[in-house]
Every structure is written in C-alpha cells, then in structure tokens.
Symmetry: C2
Subunit: 479 residues, 2 copies
C-alpha cells in the first residue's frame, strides 16, 4: 500500500490550498511541464490529447455553421497594430516585439500576435469588394502571445493556444446575429461536451474587448467559488472597418463599410475542466474529452487467461468506439487504480480470475466511485451507456454546485459580506456607471462578470450608489 498512498498523498487537498491542489494535478496528471522560457509551458501528451478532442468537436460545430479555416501570419507590423486606437491601447503594453531578423535590425518592429483583428482587417480590405464577397466567416487555430507578469498553467500564460474567428458582414443585424450565434455555440459546447454550466451575458463597457462595441461572455464557476471567463464573442460594429477602410459595393452600387465580429476560446478550458470537476484524488474528465475513457486493469494478471480476457474486452470496446487502454504493466493493481483516478479517466474495468469464472467484470465510475458488475458479453453495450450517464451526471453535479454558490444581494452591506465570505457569484443591481464598478472592485476585489441575458429585477436601485438600476449583474472574484 505504501506506493499507492505516496501517489495520493502527493496532492495537496483542495480545502487546504486550492491553488496548490491545482498545480499538483496539472503536474501529477502530466498535463504540462514548466519550460526554460519564463511564463510559457510545455503541453505534454496527456494535456494535448484533451486539447485535440476539444479542437475536433468545436471545429465540427464551427463548420456546421459555415466557418472556414485559414492561417494568418504570426507577426503584426507596428503600424498595422496602431490603426485602431482602442485596440492598440489595449494590447500594446503586453505584446512581444521582434526587432531583428537574422543579423539585421528590422526597418519596422513586428509584434507577435496577441490576437489577429488587425491582420484579418488587412486581409478583408484586400478581398472584400462586392456584396457577393460577403459574409466572410473565417477562423484560425493558432497560438498567441501576451506578455503577462504573473502566470499559471492553462489559466494565464505568456503563450497559449486558441481559436479566433473573425467575420465580416453586410449589415449590423447580421453581425449581431453571428456574435450571439457563436456565444451560444460556445455555451452549448461547454455544457454538452465539457459538462460545465455557464452564465451567458454581456460584459460591461469597462470589461469589454479593446475596440469592440459589445462583448458577450460565458462565465463558469470553479470549485473554489471563483469565476472563470471561458469564451467571448465580440461585435465590432463598423469601427474596425472604418479604421481599416473595408468597404464593399452593395446591390445599390453604393459603397458601405462592413460590420465585423470576432470570437475565441483557449486552452484555458483545460484549466476550467480541472477546477470544475476535479477532486482530492485528481483530475476528473468528462467522457467526451477524455483521451482514455476506460482503463482495463487486470487482477492477478499472471494467472492463465486473465490477460487474454482483458484483451478480448479491449477489442470489444475498440469496436464499440470507446477510447480504451489496457494497463498490463507490472505495477500493482492498487497503484493502477490511484493512477487512473489521478489522471481522471472516467471509468476503470477490473477483471480477475473470479470475475472471469462468473463471466463478468467490474466497472468503477471515477465520478461516483460506484462499482457496477457487467456481463463480459454486454460490456460493449453497457460501457457506452455508463459513459453517457457520467457525462450527464457530471453536468448536473457541476450545475448544483454552481447554483448552490450563486447568491443575491440588495444592500451594499449584504453584497460586501456575501462576496467576501461566500465564494461564488453574487447577483446585484447596477446603475450602469463605471464609478460603481470601480468602487466595488476597490472595496472587494470583485469584478462584474456579466449582465446575463436572463435578467431578473432584484430591486430598483444600484447596489452601490442607490441610483436607478439599469441591469442585474453577476459579480465575482476571478482568475
């Protein structure tokens, strides 16, 4: 038992130190490694395989809505970045600058893209001429760089992987519809694939993207009660089009500026999966993004017939489309159990001589630890059902946790007391004035997460200044 214990003891408990618990999982489940490049991480096979599954399923959903993938240069000339005033102010302080190519200094500095609005605008100016060229619904999968001061694996690093969609439309209505469509696509993806409930809403002007008219966001609640912005979708109106001179000739033969949007999700989602679902035994992966959905662990594997039967089960499951691994290494079963739990694989299958005699195997769920005896003949049918049930049940559990940690406040005292003492979202009314947002942040460190699409009227007055309220806001302390 010594080894098994050692493996589990090495994770700090969530209660004791949530940040350390997170770091322990990220390292022990071998999702990342630190690198010699400060603030950048190596995404190891176990981490990258999750990203591949996210990418594949998200990309399929994109393409079903008409998205086309492209690849843009990773560099942006300084003069191009400066074309849109708000945008450059938002990003210039945190970009990495290339000043030399080979042995020669460059004539103009290039930044490594922090996001690619400016490059897409440059492209659209060249290729959009007529209403027949619209809409353009392009996306790219790439890495971006933001020179952050403090970094944490997946949540905030100087380089991260993401997708960025950039679209151009003939009308403001069409751009608004695409902005909302992609936000809803993100929210559905989080709920259906990552088993992660999110609040859909609009960012306040203070929190919106640099250069956007409106930013929509999905906000998720982590296990420690902190909020995590998990995806955003921006409506730019014709602001960028005017700054970059993107015009098309309409059917009426007149020139019009296009209307644009952009939207993105990142490897931060892997951090969200850890912090929404994980526990003190390690990671807990929703089956739809689990690179391994079940590990077959033979008991007394040196006994004749055990490994044969384990392989037979493996083949049945592969044929049924299950992502399966057989662990026939010489580690002891107890160690393998701990390892499967640490790595977050949704199920394990225990199979030993007694099971074989009975014609059964034991499926153990990672989420509930329930042990289910399954006839070997039926395992290819039953396991996919169990996985579907885990997927559903993980979403329900996360939703219950989120709902149990969502509070309302109608007075400022109540608000401050709740936000400081009860980790979670606090719903409260707001007048729309940035001064109140700033005061709340100063007093509590909480920020406005979003003005949810599903508005409720908790009172008539702003929680902070008492003036007439314009909207209900979700507040929270954030990563």
């Amino acid at each position: 038992m010594a080894d098994d214990k050692k493996m589990v003891e090495a994770i700090t408990s969530m209660q004791e130190d949530f940040a350390q618990w997170y770091t322990d999982i990220v390292i022990k489940a071998e999702l990342i490694d630190y690198s010699s490049v400060k603030g950048c991480m190596v995404i190891k096979p176990a981490g990258y395989a999750i990203w591949e599954l996210i990418q594949k399923q998200l990309d399929e959903r994109f393409k079903a809505t008409g998205v086309e993938n492209v690849y843009m240069p990773m560099f942006i000339p300084e003069s191009l970045l400066e074309r849109e005033k708000d945008h450059v102010e938002g990003f210039a302080p945190e970009v990495a600058w290339v000043t030399h190519g080979g042995l020669e200094p460059l004539e103009e500095r290039l930044c490594v893209r922090p996001t690619s609005e400016t490059l897409f605008c440059d492209l659209y100016r060249n290729i959009v001429h007529s209403y027949r060229d619209l809409p353009k619904v392009y996306n790219q999968w790439c890495s971006v760089v933001r020179w952050e001061k403090t970094t944490r694996p997946f949540l905030r690093s100087r380089e991260f992987l993401w997708q960025e969609g950039h679209t151009a439309h003939a009308t403001a209505e069409e751009a608004e519809a695409r902005t909302e469509q992609m936000l809803n696509l993100y929210a559905d993806f989080c709920e259906q694939v990552l088993a992660m409930p999110v609040v859909r809403g609009r960012k306040t002007d203070k929190e919106k993207f640099a250069g956007a008219e409106a930013t929509y966001t999905i906000e998720a609640l982590m296990h420690d009660g902190k909020a995590l912005q998990s995806g955003t979708s921006h409506n730019f109106g014709d602001g960028f089009a005017k700054a970059f001179d993107i015009q098309y000739t309409d059917k009426d033969n007149k020139l019009h500026h296009v209307y644009q949007t952009s939207w993105g999700m990142t490897t931060r989602l892997i951090g969200a999966i850890i912090m929404v679902h994980g526990d003190d035994s390690g990671l807990k992966l929703p089956p739809m993004v689990a690179p391994v959905q079940t590990v077959i662990i033979p008991i007394m594997q040196n006994k004749e017939g055990v490994l044969d039967k384990a392989n037979e089960i493996k083949e049945k499951l592969i044929a049924a489309g299950v992502r399966v691994k057989l662990d026939d290494t010489d580690k002891r079963p107890g160690f393998k159990f701990s390892e499967q739990e640490m790595r977050g694989f949704p199920t394990r299958i225990e199979i030993g001589p007694k099971d074989i005699e009975a014609g059964t195997c034991v499926v153990v769920r990672r989420d509930t630890r329930e042990k289910i005896v399954v006839a070997i003949d039926e395992v290819a049918v039953k396991l996919p059902e169990i996985l579907a049930d885990i997927q559903k049940s993980m979403l329900e559990t996360a939703r219950e946790h989120r709902d149990a940690h969502t509070y309302s406040a109608v007075t400022y005292d109540e608000f401050v007391d709740t936000i400081n003492n009860k980790p979670g979202f606090v719903k409260a009314m707001w007048c729309g004035d940035v001064a109140c947002e700033n005061k709340i942040k100063e007093d509590t460190t909480a920020t406005s997460r979003c003005m949810p699409f599903a508005q409720e009227k908790l009172s008539d007055k702003c929680i902070c200044c008492g003036k007439p309220a314009k909207s209900m806001v979700y507040w929270g302390k954030a990563y």
Copy 2:
C-alpha cells in the same frame, strides 16, 4: 464565353514561364494571399483545407506508430539555442529575435523557433531519468520562422506550418530504426496520398541538417524538372544528448546518454502538389487531399426538376462519404467548368434535363478530361471508384514523368551537358569528397539531392575528379 476565356487566359502557360504559372495558380485558385508582413503569406480556405487533409491523414499514420502529440513554447532563449555548436551555426543567421516584452527590454533575447530540437532536449533532460521513461516519441504541429531573403508561396516563406517529431531512445539501433521508419512513412504518404513518387535516400554531409549525424530525405521531381526536398528525417546519435546532458539509468544501474531523432514535413507539400500535378488549366488535386472531390454543375438549372435532381445526387454522395459541392450560383455552366478546373477538384458532375430524362449524369475527370456517363442510381457507387482510379492514375502519370526525366551520366562533360540541357535528375557516381560537390555546384548550380537507398553502380569513378567512387548520387537543380 467572354468570362470563361478571361478566367483561363489569366494563367500564364507552364511552357512560357513556369514560375509565373505557379504564382498564377496559387493566387487564382485562392490558396493564398500576400500579407502586409513581408515574406509571410495568408493561407486562405482553399489552401488551408488541403493542409487539414494532409494533417489528418499524416497524423493518423504517426499515431499508428506510437507518436504522441505535444505543444512546446514558440520561443527559445538565446543561451538554449547556443548549446549545440553546429545547430546554432546553422540557424542563428536566419532567426527572428524578440527583444522586448511589453514596454520592457528582455534580460535575454528569445528567438522565434526555427525548429525545436533545443526545446525538446531541454524537456527530455527534465523528464527522462530511467530506461522505463524511454522511448519518447513526441511530435508537434505548429508554425516556425526562418528569416529567408527571397520567398515564394509554400516553397520558401518566413513563416510556415509543419510538424516536427522529436524522439529519444535507449540505443543507437532504435534511433536509427525510427529515423528510417519515419522516412519510409513520409515516402509512402507522398505516394499513396499525394500521388507523388519520391526518391528515398541519404543527404551528403554538406547537405545534412545542422547537428545531425545523418539526414535522410525524400526528393520529388517537379513538372519543370526541378527537384524538391519534400521531407527529412534526422539521426542525431548522442550528440544533442551530450550537449544537453540527457542521461538515463539503465537496468544495469549505469548512466547512459539517449539517442535522438527528428523528422518533419511542411506546407511546402502544397507547393509540390501544384508543381507535380498542375497543368495550364490550373490546379489538379489528388482525390485524397481534395477538399471538394466533385462539383455538381446543373445545366439549365432553372428548368423544373434540375436542381431537385442535383440535390438528390448531392445527398447520395454525402452518404457515400464523398466531399461534394453543388454549384447552384447564377454563373453560366461554362464558367463553372473553368472554375472547377482551375481549383483542381478531381471531378465534376454535369446534370441537365436530357440527362434526367435518360436517368443518367455525366462525370468529367479533371485529370484526363474523360466524360463518363453514369446512371444516377449508381452514382454513389461509381464515383468513389472513379476517384480511386484518378488517385492511382495520377501517381502513374507522375511516375512516368519522373522516370522520363531521370538521366545517368558517366563522364563530366556528359553530366554537365545533361544537367544544363535536360531538366530532371541526373544520376552519377561520386567519391564522397565535398570538393567535388562544390565544384559541381559552381559549374552547374546543381546540388546533390541524395544518395538513394537503391544504389546502382554506373562506373567505378567519381564523375568529377575520377577518383574511386563511393556512392551513386541523384543530382538536380532545386527550389
């Protein structure tokens, strides 16, 4: 007809100016666009979709051999790049340097990765301790930067997309086996998926990768008789392991250095597809990497029933797994034909009132222009057969062209005459001395492409100096 003609006339003929023909296709088939970043290109949807198909099929072949995908930082600290002497000499003159992060100068310059050997070594030093940790067979899909002076779309650009595999092994034999395995995987992929025959061989010391003990290569012949290096696989021996101090404890409890390999293929393959298969009507895509395998073009589409039947065919083909597009725009059929040929889609299906009456449609092959009458009821069976035949026949055609442009020479005069007047490969014997390689390059601009695995003995003497020959070499003028 004016429009159709205009579309075709806009491509320069191959005979007249091969370089301009290439550029015309790249732009007219909408594979790329130039960008405001000098030497970098935008890969547009039609180009990126080809890359996605290459990526998917290559990645599946990788994974079947045990490759695991990871993601490494895009930056390399200067001190890390400098650890292996030959490597830094090879790459330092052509890297882009980041000197500032946000508003602050960096303490140490970072280069944007031109290739990631140094980062993988840094990782392996941290994670390889015991023989149980070996082998490591990691790969990443990413972009890299090399500050080239002259650039051409896909063939040589300052930034390009690629995959780079980096492995670590316990023994020299295992590393050598992996080096050869990946080269053969590349060659099979080129032949089976890209319909592009390649010569498999070893690079001379002059042409090998900076820091490698041996570089293996696949060399393809373009339509103009120029050679294109299409993939390489390097055996590093323990050179990098010694420079980076990567050691493991073997079963004998002693420390040993690991043996390493790396191997890569790039978006250059798209350039190869264009130059191996294209013609004066445009691009010609092998069906396995064609984003659209057939375009349905309705004739007299306003007649009742025509579009319905076209849609019926489309649905049948989707169900049969064919990548199909229905072009029901208001352009004239002749224009659509030209467009399909320009974009290189392997077939088109013409369907009009007379065909519908006869219960048939006409499949036109892009490669041979053959028209095949197919019963509509059978189209879902016949079209995949036609596509398979096109795939096979494109490889045969390319192989015939390659073989017809591969020459031998046994005297220096004959060699110089052939290499200067007959575009293609010239096989000739070589003593192994770099002085002869240099002289040949000075006299003819040709370079040694490879020492093929399939050696022939054309004579006893080096073509250049007359000393005893060590190997037969493929020579060629290259991109």
